[in-house]
Amino acid sequence: MKTLRLMATSVLAIATGLGPVLAQVTEIGAPEGQVNIVAWAGYIERGETDKAFDWVTKFEAATGCKVNVKTANTSDEMVALMNEGGFDLVTASGDASLRLIAGDRVQPINTDLIPSWSTVDERLKNAPWHTVDGVHFGVPYMWGPNVLMYNTEVFKEPPTSWNVVFEEMTLPDGQSNKGRVQAYDGPIHIADAAQYLMFHKPELGITSPYELNEEQYKAALDLLRVQRTLVSRYWHDAFIQIDDFKNEGVVASGSWPFQRNLLQSENLPISSVIPQEGATGWADTTMMHVDAANPNCAYLWMEHSLASNLQADLAVWFGANPAVPAACTDGRGMSTAETCAANGMDDFEKIRFWTTPVSNCSQGEGACVPYYRWVSDYIGVIGGR
């Protein structure tokens, strides 16, 4: 809904030939002594969960900015916290970032004040989920694919297609996939189905899995209804999925590298792949509150997030990809070319990042099925409708 307003302002901005006129920090002053960040769980570690993973204490020592973290579990929670105020920064995903921009909750970033901006992945620098009309509303933080995780004892060769979770078939071990595959328990999974159809049914004319007209949408739901007959239980919690791979005989599912890493660390026969159809994924951005009380520390943190061991170590910790490619190879942290490759660093082009579906899309005003219908229809599909 906020996107609508955003579009309206954009149209207005283009019409008048002006960029958004918003206050922007022009120089970094003395640090305020603290910075308050809304972040995903596990995103900001100070060595308390695992001593090896710490990208905060050095920053605090060097800048005198104490880092206060408020973890959020969903994008909606993040938006709500930012609306409440009292925070300087947020690690927003693609489905929250545009809402924050549209709602004037975040301010443009002066990239000149962030020396390491130049090291940011070119593929992310102008990504549409944080850049509006050439204005940057944040600094890329981390991204990752939704991979196809599988059991290597069942799949001697990595599966090449998502069909193992979408269509009934006999798996290489000679047994049906019925009751042995999983799918994500969130409406955004409709996009995965759409992406599959994009590849296998080009006649539907799907151009983006997040922009579906009624016919395309219906085809995606039909595919998901077939999937329902294969899936015993959908997953919404990474640790429950890990348990299901261990104890429920699940052998293939859409997943995150995070789960794969944890399962591999227990020496279980698990691997993952991005099949031929490509994958959906998430990309998070550090954004700054419009009324940030500690802008200097906030800027220092944004620079720190790109320049320090954070990118390299967080990528390993979370099974994600750094926004700074050099972090994979320059030895600033634990990431290596191999770990980055395993997390899908080279698959960027195959990934279609999560965005919130809205009715006004590239197919026209009101042409696409909006997100709230995704929610109720996906509930129906899981309920056996």
Binding site: R180, R233, V375, R385
Partner: protein, 296 residues
């Protein structure tokens, strides 16, 4: 001797009423939030933009009658009813024993046994059940070892209860619901059974009633308010269990959470939330008409 047993100390409802009389603000706050909920449910979401339209409409309630939403309501209702009945059947003998026969250390053991699970984390318990019921879990292992796997497979082949294991079958959800809600059924039941004076049972026998007649005509009606109280708890099924154990099919709690939290469809979430309230009201009205509260 001072307080005749036929005039037992009045129940929770009376005390609550007292609170409201003394502190009307509490009632106002409660009613206020309920009214806000009700109000929201009469708004609708704009199909085009997804914005909540603050105009009175019954459209959102009509949406409840969409097949997938009716499914959720029906599924919740059936699950709640079955869980309540199972809880009542299981709880009664336990509560009866505790109220009538358990004394001293046995009584303490009873309370400990019933309350102990309530002290441990809800999530931990549900996860534990997931492990117990899993395909490669304790139950499956024990069934394999004793050659009783056919029982589990039998359950899993019943239409509506299908799953790759008990942990992904609605039957698993049912088991965990029963486990989690059993104490909430036992305690009010035990309390209401305890309030039945022994002399009342003796009076019944004295007047010529057999044990089963006494049970039907005296014990059961007097315990009924406790059963109803217990079933109010069990009816309010939470949304966490079906997310962890079961086949992911939605119940009202999770639907409200998702409509409100993820979809931003607050009117539909509110309308969903009104459903259990309505069900409860109808249920209580029926119970009252059937005389369930005559003993209060």
């Amino acid at each position: 001797m001072t307080a005749p047993a036929i005039l037992p100390a009045r129940g929770v409802s009376d005390r609550l009423t007292g609170v409201f009389w003394r502190r009307p603000n509490v009632l106002l706050a409660l009613l206020g939030s309920l009214a806000a909920l009700l109000l929201q449910s009469f708004y609708s979401i704009d199909e085009f933009s997804g914005v909540v339209k603050q105009e009175f409409t019954l459209k959102t309630y009509a949406e409840l009658f969409r097949p997938q939403n009716l499914d959720i309501i029906l599924r919740t209702l059936v699950m709640a009813a079955v869980v309540t009945m199972a809880c009542a059947v299981l709880a009664f003998p336990i509560a009866y024993f505790a109220a009538r026969y358990a004394r001293g250390p046995w009584k303490a053991a009873f309370y400990l046994g019933v309350m102990l699970p309530l002290w441990s984390s809800y999530l931990v318990k549900v996860y534990a059940w997931k492990l117990i019921l899993a395909k490669e879990g304790i139950l499956g292992w024990a069934a394999d070892g004793t050659g009783t796997s056919f029982i589990i497979n039998g359950i899993l082949s019943v239409p509506g209860l299908e799953g790759s294991s008990l942990s992904t079958s609605p039957f698993g959800t049912f088991l965990v619901f029963v486990y989690v809600w059993l104490p909430y059924m036992i305690l009010p039941m035990q309390a209401s059974l305890e309030r039945v004076p022994t002399s009342m049972l003796e009076a019944s026998a004295d007047l010529g009633a057999t044990r089963s007649q006494t049970f039907r005509s005296v014990i059961l009606p007097l315990a009924l308010p406790g059963v109803i109280a217990g079933s109010i708890f069990t009816f309010s099924l939470t949304h966490i269990i079906p997310q962890i154990v079961g086949d992911s099919a939605r119940f009202i709690g999770l639907a409200v959470y998702q409509q409100q939290g993820t979809a931003g469809n607050i009117p539909l979430a509110a309308a969903f939330a009104v459903v259990p309230i309505l069900i409860m009201l109808v249920y209580l009205a029926l119970a009252k008409r059937a005389g369930a509260f005559d003993a209060l």
